[in-house]
Structures are given as structure tokens and as C-alpha cells.
């Protein structure tokens, strides 16, 4: 569970500090900073889990346009299975004469004790029992996090556990126009826009037959006539995703490209629900309703909310759609907007007046400078 997030010098997030609830919808006008918040989490995931260099993950272009500060800071407080982690990631760009030097400064603590730090290309590891063991120091790429490179072992279970929590933070901003049907390779990671859904599905369907069965049942409910999702070999290495439909006792099969954008989106969304969310720590969804009708997306949202509630997962959804906002506002609705004086993003909880029958969307419609 993400207990607190602090972000500074990341797009419109300046001195941003938020303690998210277990489940909520995030609303606000375009440009308010909603997607930037998820992007900041994705940045941490890219660096800590995927081992990307900070410049491969978007730094320094993601720095706030109007600040002239060298350091971008992201700090997360996480709780998992009784463990309390605080992780601080500082991406820096410093100038030495004409040269620009990018580097990462990190600190990870568990229950208040430092487990790991990195600064100036030097990593310090304290092990799982920091007070009893002398720290280990060694040089490492100053633009990467060593956390992505650690091999799980008996002395770094907490570090590996922290990385696993970050890896289980799933953030999606689906784009059905980018979802191709060709699965050229197997992959265990799915892109934020679900663009490589076919390749990811090709891997997952072999790993988890029970989830594949549930996916098929879901899609039979969600898409009229749907009966089966199938991978067909189109070359020695590549398979193509195809969908079978039953209408009037007859079966017909069509290629992924001939499905509508809405059908592709629903298939991919139910796919991540069954193959990813049941193991997720945090589920962050950014505008999932484009291309589908409210009565198509609400059953999926209900299923996601059920998974989150039953398994104690955290759920955050960015939405502009009245039906989704009002459905998710039963848990909590938070609004983001830009402070007119500073241009920085701010966030506040919406408190509809239930005695007056007010909905969260009623409040969203009331545009005001102070939120």
C-alpha cells in the first residue's frame, strides 16, 4: 500500500505531497497533473525494476518547465506485509564547465533504518540487519539504480521485497490504437498503453490456465457473441491474436486488426484484470473509458474494485466520465487542479453533501479556481 507520495520538480508537481487512500478516483481538468502523478510512479518503476538509466526513463525532460532546479525528487512511503519502506529517489543534472552530468541519489529505509543508498556512483548496502552488520560499498553506474540489479539472497530479502512491491505497482493508460495483434515474442512486462498486449498475453496464457479460463468467461459476458481468444502461428516465431464469435449457431473468427477499438480495449482490460491485477500491489488506471460505453466499462470497474477490496490492493483511477467518477466516488474522490498563482498541481478530497443528494460529478462540474 502506498501510504504517501512526495514529488518535486516533475512536470507540474512541485512540492506535491499526498497520502492516497486504499481506493479513489482522481478527477480534474486536462493539464491538472493527474497523469503526471502516475508518470512519476512509472518513473520509479522504470528505474527500480526495469533498471533503466534515469535519462532513458525521461529525465531531465520531465523536470518542471518553470523551475530552474537541478534535482527532481520522488519519495514513496510504502507498507507491505507489516514492512514499512521509505524510498527517496533524486535525479540530478549538474554542470561541470560545459559538461552536463546526470546522476541518481537514492536512499531506502525500512522501519527507520537505512538499508541502501547510492550517491555519486557509489552504492552502500547495509543488509537486512543494518545495525549489526558493517555496510558494503562499491562503485556502480551513477545513472542507474543498483536496486534493479540485486540478486535476491538471504541477506537482502528486504531490498528484494521492496523491489517486488514496486514491480507490483501497475499503471495503465490504454490506447487501443497502439495495440497490435502480432505476438512476435513472449514478454513478462506489459506496456503502460497495453500496446504489447498480444505478446504479453502469449506468455501469460501459458503460465496461468485458470486466469485464462476466467478471462474467457468475462469476455463472453462483456462482448456480445464472444467465445474464444486464440493465437495462430503466422510465421515460425510470430503468432497473431484472433477472436472467435458465435452468432446464430455459427462460429466465425476475425483477426485482431478487424476488431473495433472498443473490443480490443475490453479484451486487453479484462486480460490485465485476470493476469496482472490479482497479484498487483497498486492498480493505477488513467482514462480507461475512451472507446467504450459506460455500461461496457462499469462491469469491468466493478470487477477491479472487487479484486482490490478482496485482496487488499490499492486502486486509483483517473477519469473524466460521470458514471465512472460517481461509481468510484463511493470509496473516495480527489480533485487535482493547478494553483492559479503558481501553476503547480494541488490535490484535495471532494466531499459531496450527501444530505443534499450531491454527487462527486456535481462537484467536478463546479469549476473553481480554488478547487
Amino acid at each position: 500500500m502506498l501510504r504517501r507520495i512526495r514529488v518535486h520538480n516533475f512536470r507540474t508537481l512541485v512540492g506535491f505531497d499526498w497520502s492516497p487512500p486504499p481506493a479513489c478516483v482522481i478527477v480534474g481538468e486536462n493539464g491538472a497533473g493527474k497523469s503526471a502523478l502516475f508518470e512519476a510512479l512509472w518513473f520509479v518503476r522504470d528505474v527500480v525494476v526495469h533498471g533503466k538509466r534515469i535519462d532513458e526513463a525521461g529525465f531531465p525532460a520531465t523536470r518542471t518547465a518553470w523551475l530552474d532546479e537541478p534535482a527532481q525528487v520522488l519519495e514513496l512511503e510504502l507498507e507491505h506485509g507489516g514492512d514499512q519502506f521509505v524510498y527517496r529517489l533524486e535525479a540530478r543534472v549538474d554542470h561541470e564547465g560545459d559538461r552536463e552530468r546526470r546522476s541518481i541519489v537514492e536512499r531506502l529505509s525500512w522501519a527507520g533504518e537505512e538499508l541502501y543508498s547510492a550517491r555519486g556512483g557509489v552504492v552502500t548496502l547495509h543488509g537486512d540487519a543494518p545495525t549489526r552488520e558493517p555496510p558494503t560499498q562499491f562503485p556502480f553506474d551513477r545513472r542507474r539504480s543498483y536496486l534493479a540489479a540485486i540478486e535476491p539472497g538471504p541477506n537482502n530479502r528486504k531490498l528484494a521485497g521492496f523491489r517486488a512491491v514496486i514491480a507490483a505497482m501497475w499503471m495503465f493508460k490504454p490506447d487501443p490504437l497502439r495495440m497490435g495483434g502480432a505476438a512476435a515474442q513472449e514478454t513478462t512486462w506489459i506496456d503502460r498503453d497495453l500496446g504489447n498486449f498480444a505478446s504479453w498475453y502469449r506468455t501469460k496464457v501459458q503460465e496461468d490456465f485458470a486466469a485464462a479460463t476466467r478471462l474467457r468467461e468475462d469476455l463472453a459476458q462483456a462482448i456480445p457473441g464472444f467465445s474464444q481468444l486464440r493465437l495462430e502461428s503466422i510465421s515460425p516465431d510470430t503468432k497473431e491474436l484472433r477472436a472467435r464469435f458465435d452468432f446464430g449457431g455459427k462460429t466465425h473468427e476475425i483477426g485482431w486488426a478487424k476488431l473495433s477499438e472498443g473490443q480490443r480495449l475490453l479484451i486487453a482490460l479484462y486480460g490485465v484484470l485476470r493476469f496482472a491485477f490479482e497479484r498487483a500491489e497498486l492498480i493505477a488506471l488513467d482514462e480507461i473509458e475512451n472507446y467504450v460505453a459506460p455500461n461496457e466499462i462499469q462491469p469491468w470497474l466493478r470487477a477491479v474494485a472487487d479484486v482490490a477490496a478482496e485482496r487488499g490492493r490499492q486502486l486509483m483511477v483517473i477519469s473524466h466520465h460521470p458514471e465512472s467518477i460517481d461509481y468510484l466516488a463511493a470509496d473516495a474522490a480527489w480533485k487535482m487542479w493547478r494553483d492559479p498563482a503558481t501553476g503547480c498541481s494541488v490535490i484535495a478530497k471532494l466531499e459531496p453533501d450527501r444530505d443534499a443528494g450531491e454527487t462527486a460529478y456535481d462537484l467536478v462540474k463546479q469549476r473553481s479556481a480554488d478547487g
Binding site: R302, A305, E310, G312, D331, L350, R354, E358, A360
Partner: protein
Amino acid sequence: MASEQRRVRILCEDRRTERFIRRICERYQVRVEDVVIAPSGKGAASAWVRRNYAKYVRKRRAKNFQPNLGLLVVIDGDNLGVAARLQELDAELDSARVERRQPTESIAVFVPTWSVETWLAHLSGLEGIDEGTPLKDEAAARRLWSDGRVYAATIKIAVAAWNAEEPPLPSLRAAYVEAPRVGLGPQ
């Protein structure tokens, strides 16, 4: 109309109620078309349901209304009970100049009293449950919804026990009479 073709819109107070009622709908193969649920906010969730009741009755009767799409309203009885809550809802229709619901109309109102937790505790087999006092703070009952997985199991048991016998709770008996209006029980 066959029960598997029936659909329902649920208007209710909170997530806990929603999840329980959706599972009852699944049991009777009534498709949940839409869930309208009170937001987290200030004031009473029951007031929110009351305030929105007329709007959704009107919506159900709109020109493009679909005969197989029913409305199921779930509002806690609290200290008022079933009769007083139904009167309140009728008063909402009167003040909105919306005709009161007809005996055969596909609009059902469940009034779990004291609250939906009272029903869940009773249907899960907890003894000595009565409608006259709130349950939310009693430790024995609270265990039934202490976390997500436990609550999922509680719902499963409660849904299986739904309509299984003549219940001692008057509000549950009243709900069993209402339920067939939206396909949740014998017609």
C-alpha cells in the same frame, strides 16, 4: 419474461451493500446494468439515496424505458425501520411529483434494518441478531467484514442463505416479498 433476461439498476448506500446485492443478483441470474452508489462525503448516505430516488424512478419510467430493466433501491432502516423508510421514499416521489410505485412495477425497495450488516450477521448464522440496535461496532459481527477476503466469504454464505427460510428479522421478510419485483426470487 425469463429471469436470465432481467436486468437491474441498483441504487444503494455503500460499497458493502453493493457487493452483497450484486452477488444476490448473480445468484438469480439478473444482470446488473448499473450501480448508483452514495459517494464518500459529508452527511448521511441514507439521505443521499432518498434524495436520488425520484430521479431514478423517473428514469425507469422514461419514454425509452426498457421493461426488463428494474430498479432495486437498498436503504438502511437505521432507527426508523421499514415502514417509515418506505413512507420517506413515497414522500420523495410526492414532492418530486412522481407517481408512487405500482404493486406490479419492477421497482423493489430493500430496507435492511438496522443496517445491511444486521442482515449479513444474521444470514451468516450469528445468533441473537435483532433489528433494534446497530451492529457495526460489535466485535463478533465486525469479524465478518474485518478484511476483504473475510468479507467475500461472508457474502458467499449470506447469499446462499438468502431466501432459504422464513427469517425472524422483519426487514428481511419484507425484502423477500419485494425481491420478485426485480427477479430476485420466485415470481
